[in-house]
């Protein structure tokens, strides 16, 4: 009857408006709301491949690797390369980011070296030289007074 028809018309119009709005916003373009890509159902990146994945790739890197430091600090690189302290420079010096504008000075206190070498439960003797008598060894002095941090072992 007439009122049922009218009600149905209103309902279908509301649905159409909803669908138009949804697909309209999506169709605004990849930058605003990427349209449905080839994959669906949350498995492959509907939005990522177009938007965010490209964005994430452009992010700046803050911590370059050891080889990058060797370009200016060739001698220190070679010195440390000979033994167990051949891990990344940033482990002790912090992230490179602004360097050389920013100085990468290391905290040269005992606590800093003990951060890795102190005898604490869970540290494996075979992995690192664990200092069991850390209280007495080199008492009242900083570690770097005797040990070169880039070549701490004595041949």
């Amino acid at each position: 009857m007439k009122h049922v028809r009218r009600a149905l018309v209103v309902f279908i119009n509301i649905l159409i408006i909803l669908i138009v709005v949804i697909f309209g916003i999506k169709g605004l373009g990849e930058e605003v709301y990427p349209a449905i890509a080839d994959k669906l159902f949350g498995v492959e990146g509907i939005y990522g491949t177009s938007g965010e994945q490209k964005e994430i790739i452009k992010k700046p890197v803050h911590a370059e690797g050891r080889e990058y430091c060797s370009k200016c600090h060739e001698e220190i690189y070679r010195k440390s390369d000979q033994g167990k302290h051949n891990f990344d420079c940033q482990t002790c010096h912090g992230a490179a980011s602004d360097h050389p504008k920013m100085r990468l000075k290391v905290d040269s206190s005992r606590e800093f070296c003990l951060g890795c070498h102190k005898a604490t439960i869970g540290r494996d003797n075979e992995t690192i030289r664990v200092l069991h008598n850390w209280e007495n060894h080199g008492k009242d002095r900083v570690c770097t007074a005797c040990h070169d941090p880039h070549h701490p072992w004595f041949d």
Binding site: M1, K2, H3, V4, R6, A7, V10, F11, I14, L18, I22, I25, K26, Y33, L40, F41, G42, I46, Y47
Partner: protein, 384 residues
């Protein structure tokens, strides 16, 4: 959220992420399910409940609308909330629930329109207030036909819509799947969770109908009928019984299996002592009072205090059940070695004040909806 580690080891990133607002959200959704079920019972099976049909339908609308509020307050980026419809992930329960919710909303609005059409047509012609009259005239959609034939067609369509709405309302319990599919959480990852959720909601809906019946008959000066109260209270009783039984069975199963989840759940239960006590003691008390109310109503006497207390108790009990389900399960973290405690903050978007606001929101909307779509003859206004 104010989460503090109480005991043991928890993953460093662990917090209670879904707070009191997300307790309210399934609570409202399940109340809608309950109320629509009572309405469907009135429509299809229990003709003596015909009087409360309009009442239940208009009362469901504020709850459906205010179910959105806790979500918008809880989201990190509420202005992007519409994205659930723009870019849905159909393997996610939350996205499908958005569609189920829309279906329920539209069906409810359609139901209201057909149910009140005769009243709207009459009021479009006789209403004195200019603004209201305009509203009614728009709502009639230009058709003023209230002949016998039209009314019979309306009744048929209402029956169809009620069927759809009943299914949609039970589908609203899909919100419990939101918790049930999270396999990482040993408390949520049970098959019995959706079932106990549905029955808790049905009980709460029945209780809400009783309360609203008391309130509306008082406000409109209508005489209360004991057989209506008796029928609804009876249904609420059986729903509550089922919910209570299911929750108890769930706990017993956990305790018997005694796998790793039980060890931490037992620990975290110390944090949940108050809601658990409310749940158990409240359920028993509500069951007792409901049966008493049924007994008295069958004798023709209506004991308003008992009805009110029983209904409020059921509502509080179901809230406590939701609290245990949502927050209780987040107190244990996935390292299964410790638990945290949760105290909701007072202010802020996720605070207690906001939660209180959300809880009273439907009751603020209700008088407005009732004014536009009166469930009973306006004896009050005629008397003024």
């Amino acid at each position: 959220m104010t989460t503090t580690v109480v005991e043991g080891f928890v993953y460093p990133n662990h917090e209670v992420f879904w707070g009191v607002l997300i307790v309210i959200y399934p609570y409202f959704v399940s109340i809608i399910t309950g109320m629509v079920t009572v309405y469907a019972i009135a429509e299809f099976w229990r003709k003596e409940l015909k009087d409360i049909e309009k009442l239940v339908v208009i009362s469901s609308l504020p709850f459906v609308l205010s179910a959105l509020l806790p979500l918008l307050l809880d989201l990190g980026q509420p202005q992007r909330a519409f994205e659930i419809y723009l870019t849905p992930n159909f393997s996610s329960v939350m996205a499908v629930f958005g569609i189920v919710y829309l279906t329920e909303l539209f069906t409810l609005l359609g139901e209201m329109w057909f149910l009140f059409r005769v009243d709207i047509v009459r009021m479009a012609q006789t209403e004195s207030n200019k603004l209201l009259r305009l509203l009614y005239r728009i709502l009639t959609l230009g058709v003023y036909d209230i002949s016998e034939k039209a009314i019979k067609l309306d009744k048929k369509i209402i029956k169809i819509l009620t069927g759809i709405e009943l299914i949609a309302a039970w589908c609203l319990s899909y919100v419990s799947f939101l918790f049930g599919v999270v396999k990482s959480n040993p408390w949520w990852n049970t098959t019995i969770l959706p079932v106990s959720f549905v029955f808790g909601g049905l009980a709460a809906g029945g209780a809400m109908v009783l309360l609203l019946y008391l309130a509306f008959t008082r406000a409109y000066g209508i005489e209360r009928k004991p057989n209506i109260i008796s029928t609804v209270a009876n249904y609420a009783f059986y729903f509550m019984l089922a919910a209570f039984a299911l929750e108890t069975i769930n706990t017993i199963l956990y305790a018997y299996k005694e796998d790793i989840a039980w060890a931490v759940i037992k620990l975290a239960s110390t944090e949940l002592a108050v809601p658990l006590a409310i749940q158990v003691i409240g359920s028993l008390e509500a069951l007792l009072f409901l049966k008493y109310v049924c007994y008295r109503c069958n004798l023709g006497k209506i004991d308003t205090p008992f009805i009110a207390i029983a209904s409020v108790t059921i509502l509080v009990v179901v809230f406590a059940m939701r609290w245990n389900m949502v927050i209780g399960a987040q107190l244990i973290d996935y390292s299964l070695r410790g638990f945290v405690s949760y105290t909701p903050p007072l202010w802020g978007r996720e605070g207690l004040i906001a939660a209180l606001g959300v809880l009273v929101a439907p009751f603020i909307m209700l008088p407005v909806v009732a004014y536009i779509f009166p469930p009973y003859e306006r004896k009050l206004r005629a008397g003024l």
